[in-house]
């Protein structure tokens, strides 16, 4: 991947300058352009492989016409506060969502992942039911995530070890599983790999919980068949958005 062009739409000048610097420091990107106001159907955006849109800006709030948006949404990353992303994610389908509080490394990683070609797997059946397995040895976090998911009509089953998680996934055949990478007995990667090797569990969507900025973990997770990832520390609402997105229920 060399010289990918990025447009920054709607970001106020100081933030655009900061993002420009971050993107220029990363390998594989050219100097981004930052038009403040631009129509999604505009020809200006055609040469750009990636568009970062500030959804809370006046430009972002004006991008609501689904027909016009269809021309850019598969290469557009929505950036904003989680509370602003939540309603947006339910009405529009962007390529990626990135909370404003994300670290530089996470933003760049999301950009890099968004530039990868779509990997559709037509054989994969749609997720069924509303049971989610949450596997993390940190019970303080799982109890908060559980509450967030239950508010969205999901049923949560908790596991504190990789072994328990695998047993629960095999028994319950949930629609999704949220796996911490580092767990006692079997780690999250092993659980992911064993789940993916079972044809019966092909419909189960998997989100990995990784330590912050562990790019190698994320790449390994995607290689093993994870559907998305989220870095710790995280916002439970962001996890809910990502989970609903992989389940196709937004």
């Amino acid at each position: 991947m060399t010289g990918k062009r990025v447009a920054l739409v709607g970001f106020p000048p100081p933030q655009a300058a900061e993002l420009t610097q971050i993107i220029m420091d990363a390998e594989g990107f050219t100097r981004p352009l930052s038009p403040l106001q631009v129509d999604p159907a505009s020809d200006i955006l055609k040469p750009f492989e990636l568009i970062l849109l500030d959804v809370e800006s006046s430009a972002g709030t004006s991008w609501t016409d689904p027909e016009k948006l269809a021309q850019v949404q598969d290469r557009c990353i929505a950036v904003g506060d989680v509370s602003a992303l939540r309603p947006l994610a339910s009405s529009l389908s962007f390529r990626e969502y990135c909370p404003r509080s994300s670290s530089t490394e996470e933003l760049l990683l999301r950009c890099t992942l968004a530039l990868r070609p779509h990997t559709h797997s037509p054989q994969r059946s749609a997720p069924v039911g509303s049971t989610v397995v949450l596997a993390d040895d940190d019970t303080s976090v799982t109890s908060i995530v559980r509450r967030a998911l239950e508010r969205n009509g999901m049923t949560c089953e908790l596991a504190a070890t990789g072994k328990d998680a695998l047993a629960l996934i095999t028994r319950l055949k949930p629609c999704a599983a949220v796996l911490d990478v580092h767990m006692p007995t079997i780690d999250g990667f092993e659980v992911l790999s064993r789940t993916r090797s079972s044809a019966e569990l092909a419909h189960t969507r998997i989100i990995l919980l990784t330590g912050s900025e562990q790019e190698s973990d994320v790449i390994r997770g995607f290689t093993l068949g994870a559907d998305d990832y989220i870095c710790k520390p995280f916002n439970p609402m962001e996890l809910t958005i990502r989970l609903m997105r992989v389940l196709g229920r937004l």
Binding site: S101, S140, A148
Partner: protein, 397 residues
Amino acid sequence: MPSPTESAPLWGRLATCGRLAIGLHIYTKTALVFLLAALATLALNQHFTPHFPDATLRLALSFSLVQITATITLALYLIAQRSFTRFQKNIHDQLRPALQENITALAFSGQAWPATVPKQGPARQVLEECLSTALSGLRDSNRDRLTQFAWDQGFARQWQQACSSPSRKRAIALLAAVSRPETHALMENALADPDPAIRTEAARALLANADPATADRIFRAVLNESLLIRVLLTADLKRHARLLLSQTIPSVLADSPSQQIVNCLEILSAWKLAIPGFDISPLLDRLEHLPLVVALLPYVQVPDTVEDHLRSALETPDLEVRCAAAHAVGQLKLNALLPTLLPLLNLNARLAAASAKALAQMGPEGERHLQAVLASGDRKASAAAMEALETLAVGVQ
């Protein structure tokens, strides 16, 4: 009176005294046990005199009895200790769900604490444990609510008063999560802590939201740290790279002891960051820094003389410089230097590997040369070429 973490140098001295005291305590205790055992053996020996006339038998019997008693006492002590730990764990396990539920409600929806917040005892310990894991796992508004709670309920004050090294390290990490202006001075003081783990934690916490002056100060301090700490903090320092490159780094490179310059160049290389406008030419004349400076060449605005510099670096007798130059030639794809690079394949294994990797990075022309080396029959060069071609085939650079 300043709190322990606030006066790091004083703590350093106290910690040394503490360690000495612990050492002395262990030796004293061991000596005391031996003394008691000897006294008990002698007393029993005396007691058995009327019953056992044989002195050897008497002494053996007394010694055995003392040993058996000591073993039973130790076993009872261990059982009691284990039972107490289990009992404590049971109490904690019973308290945890309710406290965790309250923390969840607080973090998730800002719901007020339903009962009195425990001020001491096991409930306080469990609450602190739940609070600290939630603080380190969450962010945004969820963490803000917990931060306010930790502050209001005196947890932050409790963490500021942490004494032992591990608890101080944990306290710094938690105070960083709380991130209040009131804790800034404490973090600054922790930068001078005698424990390197605490210094690292404090530097990391401060770098998360550092102003230019703080970033400058931390960067200069990190240059004097061990390799491990420098590695741990490289990514955190990279967030301030632009600022450091504009002011701090030029001043460090111009006027610092040689070791600090080496450390600074190592950090620059690890950043793998394009550094336009950074003048590296004055450093090319300083032999002791040459391998690192040559390794940096692909990241700086390449001067017209770069080919000449790299050609002479490839021909220098210094192995480190030659390897670094070979890497730089590969990264810059300087095909003009192929004739100088090719002879290195037949020298030692490290140099052969570096130049083969450089050739693999140079595109079809470099690849052709590697294929030719494979066919040449030179075992060392062929092995290096094979490895480079394999790397190229799997797309790893």
